[in-house]
Each structure stands twice: as structure tokens, then as C-alpha cells.
Symmetry: C2
Subunit: 397 residues, 2 copies
Amino acid sequence: MISVDQATAITLSHLFSPPVLKVPLRDAVNHVLATPVFADRDFPPFDRVTMDGVAIAYKAWEEGRRTFVIAGVQGAGASQMDLPGSEVCIEVMTGAVLPRGADTVIRYEDLTMNNGMATVADVIVDKYQNVHHRGSDAAAGSALLSPGQRISPAEVALMASVGITSVDVRAWPRVAVLSSGDELVAVEEQPGPFQIRRSNTEALVSALRSMGIEAEAGHLPDDADIIKREIGRTAAECDVMILSGGVSKGKYDYIPDALEAAGIRKLFHQVSQRPGKPFWFGVGSRGPVAFALPGNPVSTFMCFYRYVRPWLLHSLGTEVKSQAAVLAEDFKFAPALTYFLQVRVSGDGGVMKAWPAAGGGSGDFANLASVDGFLELPSDREVFRAGEVFPFLAFRP
Amino acid sequence: MISVDQATAITLSHLFSPPVLKVPLRDAVNHVLATPVFADRDFPPFDRVTMDGVAIAYKAWEEGRRTFVIAGVQGAGASQMDLPGSEVCIEVMTGAVLPRGADTVIRYEDLTMNNGMATVADVIVDKYQNVHHRGSDAAAGSALLSPGQRISPAEVALMASVGITSVDVRAWPRVAVLSSGDELVAVEEQPGPFQIRRSNTEALVSALRSMGIEAEAGHLPDDADIIKREIGRTAAECDVMILSGGVSKGKYDYIPDALEAAGIRKLFHQVSQRPGKPFWFGVGSRGPVAFALPGNPVSTFMCFYRYVRPWLLHSLGTEVKSQAAVLAEDFKFAPALTYFLQVRVSGDGGVMKAWPAAGGGSGDFANLASVDGFLELPSDREVFRAGEVFPFLAFRP
């Protein structure tokens, strides 16, 4: 049995290498950028007015002039006008180019306008005020975004501004989700007295979908031959298999053998953690990576967020931000296993506090609806004190 | 000019009332639940085995018996077997019902199995160990989820387990996004020397889409008649209008008049904040709510996350979690305006620290790509000290 850290290191040393895919700009959010994005022009591309008002030559104000003849209006988007002399001004609109010969903008709030004249109130005027200088944010040709950046609406805006309508991103892997076990029926079926519905498949498909990944989902009965056949077929068609159930020591736990038979070499089986101890992980020589997760709903859920999701993000080449939280109450856990404690968190005062809400164990996933994530408590201790800081694994957006 | 808090209060006192919509379970993530979800059976629905091993009557172990004849195998999903007597055991698989007459499960790791007999090692056995009792997580008929819950994969799993294939959620409002200004061209067009591309529309559409909302997007030229006509037409077809640009004091800022002409009553214009001061908000008598945001890219972006997104979530009836962060460096901002400082955050040690990365002002949205959100600094001070806590507005998932 290996530790959580060892299991993490092993999974992260067998990443998937996703090809580059072009997606329309509006579909790019959540994807990981594959190529750099460069400024096609200076940012801003011209000396840009940032306040509605009048543009003047600062020198005139410095020499004492306070009243200016209005020589025209420079609208946003229009060609650059000329400031014909230091005794005149041009009305300028936010977003317009600064007229040639002007260097300073005085906003309407500091002006009185009368009979085609603008008079500056008794205010301090600074040279270049309300002007956003060409190239001051970024020079043409400079890199605005780097590969590996996870795309949020901010990056979409930036790519739009340089004319990118189709974005180079890392393709999602093809993911297959397979549940197993004769105790499971489809969601739309009425379970027998000793059966339950397949909630794990739905949890995994939804969790993948909220990352942006559309997964194929299937189910395996407790039949060694069918399992072998279906796993072999699936392995040939996907990059990542996520299985749930059938990896314990039970008589009908055929999954590990079937994975090996499909050419997927076991790298570990069993991790010293609760929940999720029977977790199995393997890789094919040319084929997919397989995460075979224990079937208890909380185990499946925790293992997805602790192992599978970071593995997917690392494979896509993006940074995975780790989080930490402060335990809000003393907590005890005796077994020599890393314990993933269900917690509610609050962020009062800038401190992320985690309140234990352990629920009824790995089978109790009704409890998941009232928590925000898992606090990762190390295996080498039994007592965890209020005020101590531990890694926090969030599963809500 | 009103304060940020006043503006917030006014927007939140004019919410949209979304109808109930049914969506397939797999599409439910990110939606807000509209009706409660009840347990259709006890959770778990039967006394459930949580470890592979053998089931016995605890009394026999208590009386000193350590070797049991294996009388059969109770598989997961199969009908409940009987434990025929206290000298026997039944092999049980994780997820199976506990055989009738048994009350305790001993895992394989603590057994030796030979010639049809199981012998218990020298371990402590507790009555009911490795049994997850019927109804211990939730009783049939009890509420598992309440209306207003934002649906994550955890809630999908829970709904799957009670057989919900179609979920009652709050419908998203119909949202129209309109940019304005002759300086703007479409993303795929080559801008003239004094034009830029329409990045705000893309930012807003993407931000809405990452909430789950598909918005219509359009553009208005600086022409009072066209603006009036298009705003009137759009107002009749949507629940929420989000406009960007055309709300300053400029000569071509026709948006407020056009909104009023479309029957949308102004509730405020101008908020004492930077960026985003010219923000206009109004409501129609039967028609849509309009957020007319300033056109500077950072202003539009900040106003969406500070005002529009919380308004949408409140309208859907869900809780909006506020966040706070600790300023990591001293910062000065003199004007008597609430300042939304661009910051990078890190969560070391459970403390959310915010590092100022102010960039070049409201026009500098290249800077947004390198920050995580905005720290909201109050208007009544000029100096903000490292270590002080302020509200934090995140825009990355």
C-alpha cells in the first residue's frame, strides 16, 4: 500500500499529451491555451482619450490661458483631427484618438461651455492627464498570453481585441466512465430491494462536464467475461478510463484483472487513505490511462477531485492552484491513513476556515450536499487541532 | 452620484423572477434547484456491507468462537440470505445487504480462509462493524436538497440516487448584450487606425456562458435613431439588457435617453467608484432590467462581476458567497471613490493574500490576464495598509 503523495507522484508522471485543437473564441472559456497570443498592434493602438471633455496643448494652460475656442469635436473611431493652435481646444469623446497637437484632456466637469468657448475651472491640470498613451499597456508584437493559461472571460476579451476568432487550445482527452456492480441500476429504473441507482456515473460525467469534457458513460455487470470484453473494447477507443467499483478484494472484483488483460499495466493498487483505499491506477503501453476508483460514492467523488482532475489539468499543461484551510475545531482520526475530512468552509476575514462535517463515512454521500470539499489530514497523527492548516480540496465552483 | 453600497442595494431590490424549467439531470450542473429533493427510500435502503469479508452474529464471537463454517456468498445486489446459525458465517461483498441474522462484518484482512472455514485473527471485533445501517444517513421522505441550492456534481449524484432524471431548476433570464460606439469593429474585422475590436461583447457573452447563460449579442452605432429603435426592439424580447459604452457625458452617449424612451426608468446614473463611474441602471414597468455599463473594458468587466452576476444569482434564488482577502502590500488611492484594485491572490497557510497589480487603469485590460480579481477598497480613506482585510471579487473559476 502506498501513500497519497506516492500515488499522486505516480499518476502525475504518466500524463496524457493532448493535441492542439482550434475552437471558436466563444467556446474557449475553461480550455487551456496551446500557443502564445501576441499583440497585433500597440495597446492602446493610439493616444486614447479616457474622459469626455476638451483636448488642449498643456503649454497654453501653463502660460495662463483658461478660455479656449472650441474648434471641433473628435469622436471615438473618427480620424485624427488637428489642434489648429494653442488658443483653441477640441471636444473629445472617451475612446477617441487625441487630436494632433494636443497633449492634455480636461473633463467636462471642470469646464464651463458657452458660445463656442470652453473655460477651465480653478483646478489643477496635469500634462497628459486623461490620456492613455499608445503602447503603454503592451507594445505591438509582445506576448499577451502564454501557453498553459486557463482561459477565463478576461482572456477571451484580450484575444478578441487582437482579432482571434479561433483559438489554439489543448484538446480534451477522450474519457470513458464505467461503473460496475450488479447492485446498480440505471437512474430511470426502479431498484430492487437490495439495489441502488448508478449515482457515481452521473457524478463523474457531471464533474467532467463542468471542466468542459464530454465523457462516454457505460456500465459493467459482475461478469468476468463481459467485463474483460468491454474494458478491452473501451481501452481501444479512449485516452482515459475512469472506472468505479469492482476494485476491492471481493469475489466479484474483476476490474484489475480485466484491465491487465487489456494491456493496462498496474502501477499501484491500494492507497493508504480513507475514503478510497482500494484505488487502482494503471497505464497502457500505447493505450489509455486507467483510474479504477472504489465504488463507494464518497470514495469515487473524492478520488476524482484529488487525483483525476489534477491529472487532467496537468496533462493539459496548466497550473493547478492548491488551496489550504484552517481547521476550525479539534478533530480526531486514529487509523494510520490520510483522512479526507468533509468540511464546510467560510472565508471570514480573509482566512479560509474549515468546519468538520464528517457525515456517516464513505457510503454517506447525502452529506456531500452540505459540504464544500475535503480537508486532507496526514496519516502520521491522530489528533488535529483547531488553528492548524491543511490542504483543502474544493469541489464547488 | 451614489455609493457602491447604494447601487448594490438598488439593483438587488429589483430582481427578476425566473420561472421553473425542467432540465435533464446531466445538464443540471450550475443551475439553481427550484423544488426540494426528497429521499425516495431510506439512505442507505438496507443494512449495507462496507467491507469485503464475512458476516457473523456478534454474539458468537463474544462467546469465544473464532472459526466459522462458510455457508455461502452474499453478493452485492442479490437477495438477502439467511445466516443459518451462530457457528457459520456468510462471505459478503461491499455493497451487499447484510444477511438476515448477521450483525457484524469481519474483513478479509483479518481472516484466514481454509477448507470452507474462516478463522478470525487476534483482532478486536466490534458489534455492527463494517455495516452501514439502513436509514442512518437519511430517512425515506426526508428532504435531501432544498430550493435555492446551486447544483454541483455532488447534488447530481444525490438526485441520481433518488431516481431524478429531469430536474426542476430556475430558468435563466433571456439576456441581451449590446455594445455601442463607432470606434468598435467586429473581432473578425481589421480595425481602422483609430478603432478597436469589440472585446467587451465577447467578455460578457463568455462570462454569462460560464454561468450557464447563452446571451444574444449585438452592436449599436453612434446614431441616436438606430440606438432608440434597436433598444426598443431588444427591450421587448429579453429580461435583462447588458449594455457597454455610451453612458458617459459625451456628445454621442445616447444610451440613457434611448433606454428611457423604451420605458426603462433610470434608478441611478453614476456610482462613486473607479473604474465604472458612469454605470447606469434602470427597470422597465413590465419589461427588462437594464445594466448600462461604461465601455472601458476593465469597467465593463468589473461591473459585470460586482453587480450583474450577483444580481443574476440572487434572482435565481441562490446564496452568493462573499469572499475577503488580506492586502499584502500598502496601497494608496486618493480620490473619494471606492477603488476596485486589480490583485493577484495566493492562499498560503489558509490566508487569502491579495497582491496589488493595478495595471494601467480602466483601459488596460491586458493586465486582467495576470490577475485573479478585484479588491474593493472603501472610498473614505486614502491609505490601505498591508494586513487589512477587504472584500475580494474573483473572476476566475
